[in-house]
């Protein structure tokens, strides 16, 4: 990707998006705690909404970092975000109700160290490297925790590692049929890692616009939430999974339509079955 990325200012400042994304995703993850308080799984969909908030923030953080030209592709930034995020998130699930906060702190420490290594030891000297990798690690951890909360109804290690399997009508506990035992974490790892880098990777270019990229980020989040909701059917009661699916489909349809509309606004022309326009004068 040798495309020259031009810095475009304007729109919502990055710090606003960062603070809003952080607060929104942590609060939304905590709202899934209502499952524990009420003894149901119907509030799981808040975990999915938390991933959407985190991914919107994440796409802008990637934009912030990659506008400096990091020498390798945009997707690698998503990979390092989730590579460190998964470690922080799994560690944090040990701490019960404090898990989201612990995840943010541990991920921030990991990100700070990686940023320091990249910037100083590897001599990259990118001004926003450290803060960006802190943000990306936190986003990775929160996104994965959001998916975990959405697909299991909880965010502590016991819930993530135990499930139940129905044999001949009886429900038996099983470690294999669980979020971690079945390695669904590997799937949501890739879902998040692609969804976080795609909005910027797809929208980069001279006519980049912020609202279009952020809409796309929300669209990617809801799209990932649709499939996560389908996978969650194996782990949580069908009713709760259907609520997640319903929320995800509505959100996805709205953002997808909006994104197409914004692309139409920004595109040079919107043609159907037309030849290459004559641009000899250029």
């Amino acid at each position: 990707m040798t495309v020259k990325v031009e810095k475009i200012e304007g729109g919502i400042p990055h710090n606003t998006i960062m603070v809003a994304g952080l607060i929104a995703s942590v609060i939304l993850i905590y709202l899934t705690y209502a499952n524990v308080l009420t003894g149901t799984a119907y509030f799981s969909f808040f975990g999915g909404l938390a991933t959407v908030a985190a991914l919107v923030w994440g796409s802008h953080a990637i934009k912030h970092l990659c506008s400096y030209g990091i020498g390798t592709g945009v997707p690698s930034a998503g990979m390092i975000a989730f590579g460190s995020g998964v470690i922080a998130m799994l560690f944090a699930t040990k701490y019960g109700v404090a898990a989201p906060i612990v995840a943010v702190i541990v991920a921030a420490i990991l990100g700070a160290i990686f940023g320091y290594l990249a910037n100083n030891v590897l001599s990259m000297r990118i001004p926003v490297m450290i803060i960006s990798l802190i943000e990306l690690s936190v986003i990775g951890a929160l996104t994965l925790m959001g998916y975990a909360a959405m697909m299991t109804g909880s965010f502590n290690l016991t819930a993530l590692t135990t499930g139940s399997i129905a044999i001949l009508g009886m429900s038996l506990p099983s470690y294999y049929v669980s979020f971690i035992g079945g390695a669904l974490i590997a799937t949501v790892f890739m879902l998040g890692a692609i969804a976080i880098q795609h909005p910027f990777n797809a929208c980069l270019g001279p006519n980049w616009t912020q609202d279009r990229m952020l809409t796309l980020a929300a669209e990617c989040g809801f799209l990932s939430m649709i499939v996560a909701a389908i996978m969650s059917m194996a782990l949580i009661p069908m009713g709760a999974a259907l609520i997640s699916l319903f929320v995800a489909v509505i959100g996805w349809y709205y953002t997808y339509a909006k994104y197409i509309e914004l692309s139409r606004r920004d595109a040079a022309a919107w043609l159907d079955s037309k030849p290459i326009p004559d641009v000899e004068g250029q």
Partner: protein, 280 residues
């Protein structure tokens, strides 16, 4: 790329202060782990993870990757991204190593099986790259960075087509690719097997279950951490070579000491977190 080109200072030199701080962080993490868990299995796991991370980062420097220009025959190397190509090879190695870990307890056999798996993936892929260049596009291999192939002694300049920096995979790059696959496979497998042994030991007590029951948990946790750490190390190494490299003969290869320090620290920090899930 533009910003990188604009900063020639980001060249081969090592930042001494930063390196020393990095090594101090590394020692602190090692000492902290020793202090927390003692000289047992968990401490050995940390050492194994650090060694594995170093192997991954070192291996990435061997893999000949040309990025986008390689797809047009404008620069030598494989036409894809360095971090992900290394990940492809390393994870194929991890696949083999994890399989071998089922039948044997011999650490050396497991790690070498993983290494060979990674090397095999790269050997076949690089052979097909040459195949496509020669039989599909009629282009001979030529390096842009050296006048003679250090292994075969073939001269390169007269096979380089006009207006390009070379193309294809000269034999040195091929060998580099295989070595990179070997290191990547070995490193990924080492991280996996160290964590797997630790989790197999600790999880039954922690979760109050039989070892056979928690095996899927241990396998997934170890596998997921191995993939996560592999990607972190591979991306850091890719940052070090700024995206493209021809192989061990490329001048950029000499930057590897920086990446070794960085990946040792990164692996240690990830490792202590991964160990503390079960140990504390």
């Amino acid at each position: 790329m533009s910003a990188v080109a604009a900063k020639p200072t980001a060249g081969g030199a090592m930042d001494v202060t930063a390196t020393i701080i990095g090594i101090i962080i590394l020692l602190v993490v090692i000492a902290l782990t020793y202090f927390l868990v003692g000289p047992g299995l968990a401490f050995m796991a940390l050492i194994g993870i650090i060694v594995g991370g170093i192997l991954v980062a070192f291996g990435v420097h061997f893999v000949p990757v040309g990025g986008a220009p390689a797809a047009m025959g404008q620069a030598p190397g494989i036409a894809t991204g360095v971090a992900m190509l290394a990940a492809g090879a390393g994870l194929a190695g991890l696949f083999g190593g994890a399989w071998a870990a089922q039948t044997t307890d011999n650490l050396l056999v497991i790690v070498v099986t993983g290494a060979v798996g990674g090397g095999l993936m790269m050997a076949i892929t690089c052979m097909f790259v040459t195949f496509i260049y020669v039989f599909g596009m009629g282009i001979p291999n030529a390096s842009g960075k050296v006048a003679k192939d250090p292994i075969t002694g073939d001269t390169q300049t007269e096979y380089k087509s006009q207006g390009t920096e070379g193309h294809g995979l000269p034999f040195i790059s091929y060998v580099g690719g295989v070595i990179g696959g070997l290191f990547g496979g070995a490193g990924g497998t080492l991280i996996y097997i160290m964590l797997l042994n630790l989790y197999n030991e600790e999880l039954p007590g922690m979760m109050n279950a039989l070892p056979a029951q928690v095996l899927p948990i241990a396998v997934t946790l170890a596998g997921m951490f191995a993939i996560g750490m592999f990607l972190v190390n591979a991306v850091l190494a890719a940052y070090n070579i700024t995206g493209t490299i021809e192989g061990p003969h490329d001048p950029k290869f000499k930057r590897f000491p920086r990446a070794i320090v960085a990946s040792a620290v990164a692996s240690a920090v990830c490792g202590i977190v991964a160990i503390m899930i079960v140990a504390v």
